[in-house]
Amino acid sequence: MTDWKKICTLDEIPRLGSRVVKSPKGDIAVFRTADDEVFALHDMCPHKGGALSQGLVAGKVVTCPMHSWKIQFENGEALAPDKGCAKPYPTKVEGGLVWIAL
């Protein structure tokens, strides 16, 4: 059974921005797209461990601030030609509240 945890209200994450949530599994970056969709990734770039939460969000991709790898929200995979994956976590938004499942 999925164990959903409430993390914040949608308003607390800026559009095309992100927030960090501390968890037993390490820091998790929670992103909000222009269309108010919310995605969560392990806050560590598969390249050299950069904080993805500090990157620039466009569409459903974040560009890592360290060396500009582009990581896709939906599966955590880096865009070609780079290869690597930041673990994605399921999220949902209900009634203005953001939930995450670890």
């Binding site: 501390k22 222009a34 904080a51």
Partner: protein, 805 residues
Amino acid sequence: MVGNGMAGCRTLEELLKLAPDLYEITVFGAEPHPNYNRIMLSPVLAGETKFEDIVLNDLAWYCDNGITLHTGKQVTKIDRKARKVIAADGTEAYYDRLLLATGSSPFILPVPGKGLPGVIAYRDIADTEAMIEAAQHHRHAVVIGAGLLGLEAANGLVLRGMDVTVVHLADWIMERQLDQTAADLLQKSLEAKGLKFLLGKQTAELIAGESGRVAAIRFKDGTGIPADLVVMAVGIRPNTALAESAGIHCERGIVVDDTLQTYDPKIYAVGECVAHRGIAYGLVAPLFEQAKVCANHLAQMGIGRYAGSVTSTKLKVTGIDVFSAGNFMGGEGCEDIVLADPSAGIYKKLVIKGDILAGAVLYGDTGDGAWYFQLLKDKQNVADIRDHLMFGSHHVGDVGHAGASQAATMPDTAEVCGCNGVCKGDIVKAIKTHGLFTLEDVRKHTKASSSCGSCTGLVEQILASTVGGAYQPADTHDKPVCGCTEHSHGTVRQAIREQKLLSIPAVMQALNWKTPNGCATCRPALNYYLISTWPHEAQDDPQSRFINERAHANIQRDGTFSVVPRMWGGLTTPAELRVIADVAEKYEVPTVKMTGGARIDLLGIRKGNLPKVWEDLGKAGLVSGHAYGKSIRTVKTCVGAEHCRFGTQRSMDMGVKLEKMLFGMWAPHKVKLAVSGCPRNCAEAGIKDVGVIGVDSGYELYIAGNGGIKTEVAMFMCKVKSDSEVLEYSGSFLQLYREEAYYLERTCHYVARVGLDHVKANVVENEARRKELYERLLYALQGYTDPWANAVATQAKEYVALEAI
């Protein structure tokens, strides 16, 4: 699409990038292969590469992109009324848009015996295989035509063990690409490799031997030589038969306009079969330019015109370096600069017409070919660098990689990109295995030159020496901002100004951005253009700024941040130092360091602590130093007349005034200033964006220096008398830079692009213009407040992590 070659497939690739689902695509190719890299046939013949390695689009590519591929089927008819094409075997396909990329055929001399076995052209993989086969069984080969292709064919046959004679009609070889001096040098070194030459010879007849195969060649003058294999390489003819039979207007090739459209609006054409403004191109680089424009119009985006190409040539014969481009023969109104060192085997000729490089021939040392070609294409004014132009790009201030211009002779293990640790071998391998042709592609695949960019020239040279004539340097002036748009930086700026666009979504809508939110490349640029063009009106979008500017601190490799409080002119007080010391202890700052800009850096602060650190610093009056921004950084000063026995001007005071004036100035890139109180120049003003040097009678102003990636010595702009003039002249230069430079262009690159004369005309010679610029700068900076204090006052939440789960 009819024709499955490099030009056609490149058009499809570009089209799929722009509009992947717009068309159902069907491709007809007469050869039984998928698209391969025709340029690499010479290395295949020479035994340096295998056919499998030169396939550009394998069958899976067609399949993955939903393209129906008919190989080995020649289209024989276009029914324009019914809008369908019909192949020789009866296969039919209907079209909404038809792309003709039928390429060209080798020109076969109309001499008796031209159809004999053993007489071939050099065009496709079948010809190459025939030549490899002939080399195993026969001895004498004759290549007719000493052009690029002919020489590569001859070289390949020599390497395969044949006795090769090159027959040529003109008086020197490669006469369309080389002048006689270079050609003679080339001939000598090819002779040393075993090739024989017969120049000024016209072929009269090919004679069959007993077996019926060709056995000899006879010339107009009655002489002759044995030949078991004859390769005709005397030129190409655009394949226009299909188009002509359908009634499409053809001259030398299929006539197209600047959008690559033929006289039938539903039919487009690209590649060697095309005549554009009367020119049919036979090199791959122009064809790729055509492909890009054509794809854009096929995708119904309607942006972009093909205006013809300047071409360059590079011979792919291992161990011999020849390069030529543009009008290398000179002529009326042209001047030649020539360097000839016959015993070293080096010859270089540059043709200059009216301060612009018009052509170049390089023999023996072609390391700077790509650079000359760039100057030529950009029509850059070379008056300023003319005296050392001949000595190559590294003589124009490139200390970063001075002397390393010999890309071809570098060992594979040599590190090219120091930022990302990429060796030459990695780059060459990526170019070969992925079929890369552009600098952008190489950057994407290898990361070489994608960080600081100082090795860009070297990477371009490696690219040029690996792919030869196929390399096309990017057109720096019209280059799109990024993959999200076709528009260049210049066009975007102009649109923002003329249409008074005030937000990023408005720009993206007005200019038909291809992506909904842009990307990490274009958004920061757009944000800067907006706030610099429409200060106090356009919205500043924090989410479109790089993290450092968003968080007002510099992110470090471990994810912590560094904090640099401003110290005006490098001056501080015991009280400020005490607060900095207290902060460093209170927040357990692991590293405290002096910066190069004469201030103190507190490194290793966790993001959540940033507002608290700023609050404590702010109590002592310390504000943001903007060490993180594309903005004014520091004004470095020497002690000056305040204390120094040599000082002629009060440089600390002047520096503080400049820094206070420029506080909060965003710019295309970082901006650093320095003020020295005397010509001893202890503040190192000679390598700053604006350098001020006090002299007894006033100040000398220097601009566009740079101490970073490439050390650039600042150029003298003018001399002024008073402190207020220093502010006005420096300010108006910086405003000109802010208004005209492209995002991420330092002052040195900006001034190199527009010319020092342009800057002087605006800032020094035209008083009204100077005052306008200065006022606009002051207006833009009006009311700027410390971003740290703002973050503290608004209790900005973004710095703190959400509650743990």
